[in-house]
Homo-oligomer: 230 residues x 2
Amino acid sequence: MEHVPAPLLDDAAVGRRDRERLARRRARLDAALAGFGEKGFEGATVDEIAERAEFGKGTLYNYFQGGKDELYLTLFEDVVIGGLHRVVDATLATASVATPADVRSAYCTFVEGLFEHFEAHRPQLMLFMKDGDRMMLDPDKAAFFGGLFERLIDRVAVPLDAAVRAGTLRDLPARPVAHLLMGTVRGFLVADDETRCAAHPRADVSPFTTPGEAASFITTVFFDGLLARP
Amino acid sequence: MEHVPAPLLDDAAVGRRDRERLARRRARLDAALAGFGEKGFEGATVDEIAERAEFGKGTLYNYFQGGKDELYLTLFEDVVIGGLHRVVDATLATASVATPADVRSAYCTFVEGLFEHFEAHRPQLMLFMKDGDRMMLDPDKAAFFGGLFERLIDRVAVPLDAAVRAGTLRDLPARPVAHLLMGTVRGFLVADDETRCAAHPRADVSPFTTPGEAASFITTVFFDGLLARP
DNA sequence: TCACGATGTGACCCGCCGGTCACCAACTGA
DNA sequence: TCAGTTGGTGACCGGCGGGTCACATCGTGA
């Protein structure tokens, strides 16, 4: 494996007017990735990806020596993990955890950000959410994949941990809570996607029409709990 | 698709002393399914499954005309959905929702039951949890699969709905909550499994050593919420 | 013991798909 | 205009794996 960033997507240290060529390539690959999403990693053929991206198959192999795997992992790192970190940057990184309301609203905004990011890149992200677990079956991919995800969880857990220490949150271990939250959002998005896209849609998975409503639902459950308060 | 129950697993309406032969077959198939779990649906070859189950490949095709797909769906219905319904039977079906403590403990027992069921059939269930989403890409499988799951969710939602009506629980829609709970448990189990089995284990996903502790963790988050109470 | 149906089998077939490589085209500098 | 270099291509290859089917084996009843 030993995933080496492909020059194709590496636009740092690149000559001036090559910029736009690189941008076009990126766009074409992103489009190809969307096609990926409909079929899953194993379902999509390299021929098809190349065709959608308007690349020759050989060209793809020029840039991704590691073949289909490296293509997949590169796009994963770029689109999925990169996007998630940007959501963390925008919502959690600078959040105050001084009061319960602060923590609550920081994570509500965070979850809302996740939903919006998802809306904007639905097919690409769906692919990785549905295929992600299968990747873990391969030790090499699992190491790469797991490492990236762990770093994300670390960042999500930071404000939780601070809030627990400050006594704002119940005394629960921060990282498991972060995992639980991310897993829950993921499960919600997958179920919701199936509702919208499946031949036989599931009923009533999500009656929420905006990212804000859905985020508020999850945040309410997580922070306030299901039990009615007097 | 039109999944017709294979006689191989259909032990109703079967002659007296064929019983034990059927039982042996079932056991062999279950063993084969465990092997399935290590590789995933697409990763496991029919040759390998047949070998593990000590069947000839042709014999498998005698019983599962639908081929690998039907084999998969039959085992799914039998092991996964059947097992989950048994957990619901044992914990939620007869639960009282009269007081907050009743609802809380019913679902805590339910989640604990899910964890125990999982412990007992780890490889088989892991297979379906990790592959489940990919199945939804095929409309036929999605219909079969989704229908079974929806009926399960219906049952999980019943006590929630009753409790909401009784004012015991916060006024949230019961089915989405049921989906959220099941998705959360699933996410937790998958992450936990990766911690135990992956080449590079994830740290601190679950510091819990017994099903009871893990169930208590999830139940606390869901019912009491993360926010500290005075 | 033989005949016949039912059950079980694995060698073989064939389509599919990831990966390769010999070739081509476009640009560059002389 | 031509030689050299870089970037791009898709026809082809090889293996892999789902599915088939002609044959073997077993159980049974005459």
